[in-house]
């Protein structure tokens, strides 16, 4: 096998000249990883290796530990579905998953996505330049709001109302002191911000959620709210699901859409390759982009019993003790050279993974019982959007996005991403 000594990967494996393709854009600088599994001085276990991360996420000896779930454990009487565990979570997930299947997307939402993309293209042609970020909300939101059943708002502007809440999420700073003592990523809530968030939620409920619930009590439809009503969910529980589905369903896909557009608009060859590719090839390219630009950096778990973890690279075994906080480092797992071939921090549209049985997106959609249920929709909407956007004559970047960080979700945020077309 010949080897490209400059780039350090076997040339027979990858036909792509990596120097011409993009490098990872969104990740925060990280300390070099010394071991796939480490325990820090506070007793927090850090998982960097892909195989070890997958083993932990698939284990039945862990429960969720991130995004404020442990605060909810103690304070809330209403726990949304994404925070449930065990059989209850599995049953709920199965009952609602029919909204996310490829068949459901093709039959129920395809025309909505295309309609939104048409409007987007008309906007950019008319204005000559647009900020991609708010438009990405309209695109993914058209599907997510339909799935939830948020279609009877009393006033226009639901997107802004949800956005103002999402924009406040970074203000819910993790309490690093608690994190460092191994108590989890607890949230510090500034009382003023807390009150403001509650007010915004109340407005969202009164203007958007309540009328949707009332309508579906009279006339059920094929959506989440109608399903929850059939399960005897009251308004508060219904509202909790609406807000979690809206945030989870919109936030990550819109960031990814912007990141993907950034790569393609910056790399004309990559763009041409995408536009000429088959459905399967485009799917592989998008999954490679998701691997490289995973929106979520960390996944948190809590061990509910001792967990033995075998580390293949050193042929050793460690035991994560019951009660320990576990941090899965998604960027590290996604660039684990035991799984991903050479140059893991570069985009390779023809990448073939070394490891059998691993999706091209590697760990970006998570794994185990809580694997992202909306991964198909996110990729489908992104694909429809990109094919139309990239085919526009003269489309180019006017201003690269500002990259910020959301510590609450441990996710990147791309803002002020201005694209335009030459007149």
């Amino acid at each position: 096998m010949s080897t490209d000594t400059q780039r350090g990967y076997p040339t027979s494996q990858c036909p792509v000249d990596h120097d011409h393709w993009g490098h990872q854009k969104t990740a925060r600088p990280q300390e070099p990883v010394t071991s796939p599994v480490e325990c820090d001085e506070y007793g927090i276990w850090h998982i960097h290796g892909f195989k070890e991360a997958r083993m932990v996420l698939r284990s039945r000896s862990v429960k969720q530990g991130g995004a404020g779930v442990e605060r909810l454990d103690k304070t809330s009487v209403v726990k949304p579905f994404i925070y449930m565990e065990g059989k209850k979570h599995q049953e709920y997930r199965k009952q609602t998953a029919r909204f996310f299947t490829p068949k459901a997307v093709s039959s129920n939402y395809q025309h909505l996505i295309e309609q939104q993309v048409d409007e987007f293209i008309a906007t950019i042609k008319r204005k000559k330049q647009v900020d991609l970020y708010p438009l990405s909300h309209a695109l993914i939101g058209s599907v997510v709001y339909k799935i939830i059943g948020l279609t009877n708002s009393r006033l226009p502007g639901m997107q802004d109302r949800v956005d103002t809440f999402i924009k406040r999420l970074p203000d819910m700073q993790p309490r690093y002191d608690a994190f460092e003592k191994g108590k989890g990523n607890k949230i510090y809530l500034n009382p003023f911000h807390f009150a403001e968030i509650q007010l915004r939620l109340l407005v969202f409920y009164l203007l958007d959620v309540q009328p949707a619930i009332q309508n579906r009590r009279r006339q059920p439809e094929d959506d989440l709210i109608s399903h929850l009503l059939s399960e005897k969910y009251n308004d508060l529980k219904n509202f909790t699901e609406c807000i979690t589905f809206a945030v989870a369903g919109i936030q990550a896909p819109r960031e990814f859409m912007c990141a993907a557009a950034w790569h393609f608009l910056e790399q004309p060859e990559l763009r041409a390759r995408y536009l000429a590719a088959s459905d399967k090839e485009r799917d592989c390219m998008l999954q490679e982009l998701v691997r490289l630009e995973s929106v979520v950096e960390r996944i948190f778990r809590r061990a509910i019993e001792d967990i033995p973890v075998y580390i293949e690279s050193t042929h050793t075994q460690v035991t994560i003790p019951k009660g320990a906080l576990i941090v899965i480092h998604v960027y590290s797992a996604n660039s684990d050279e035991c799984v991903v071939s050479g140059n893991p921090l570069q985009l390779c549209p023809a990448r073939e993974l070394k490891q059998e049985g691993v999706s091209n997106s590697v760990m970006s959609f998570g794994d185990g019982n809580h694997r992202c249920p909306g991964s198909h929709i996110a990729l489908r909407v992104t694909d429809i959007f990109l094919r139309r956007l990239l085919a526009l004559e003269g489309i180019h970047i006017i201003k690269q996005p500002d990259v910020a960080w959301n510590d609450f979700l441990t996710a990147y945020m791309l803002r002020n991403f201005i694209v335009g077309i030459s007149s």
Binding site: K94, A97, S359
Partner: protein, 79 residues
């Protein structure tokens, strides 16, 4: 080789369908459905990939050494 698929354990991730749509589909509720209980061995690699990729390990492989005969059945083996 015999592969048993637990529809009970399935969490409707759709990963198996994305990996090998010739053999696996999702029913109206999204749960895994085996389209062909005796698929061609041409698909063996994709099927094995689907088995490994399933996030909740809903598949159980038996008689793995036998690569001349392939059977896939829906069967709640974990009950």
């Amino acid at each position: 080789m015999r592969i048993r698929v637990s529809t009970q354990r399935c969490i409707v991730s759709g990963v198996c369908v994305q990996t090998c749509s010739e053999v696996f589909a999702q029913n109206d509720d999204g749960v895994v459905h085996v389209l062909d209980e005796h698929p061609s061995l041409v698909h063996i690699k994709e099927i094995q990939q689907a088995v490994l990729r399933c996030p909740v390990q809903a598949f159980l492989i038996e008689d793995q050494e036998n690569t001349t005969d392939l059977t896939i059945i829906e069967d709640n083996w974990d009950q």
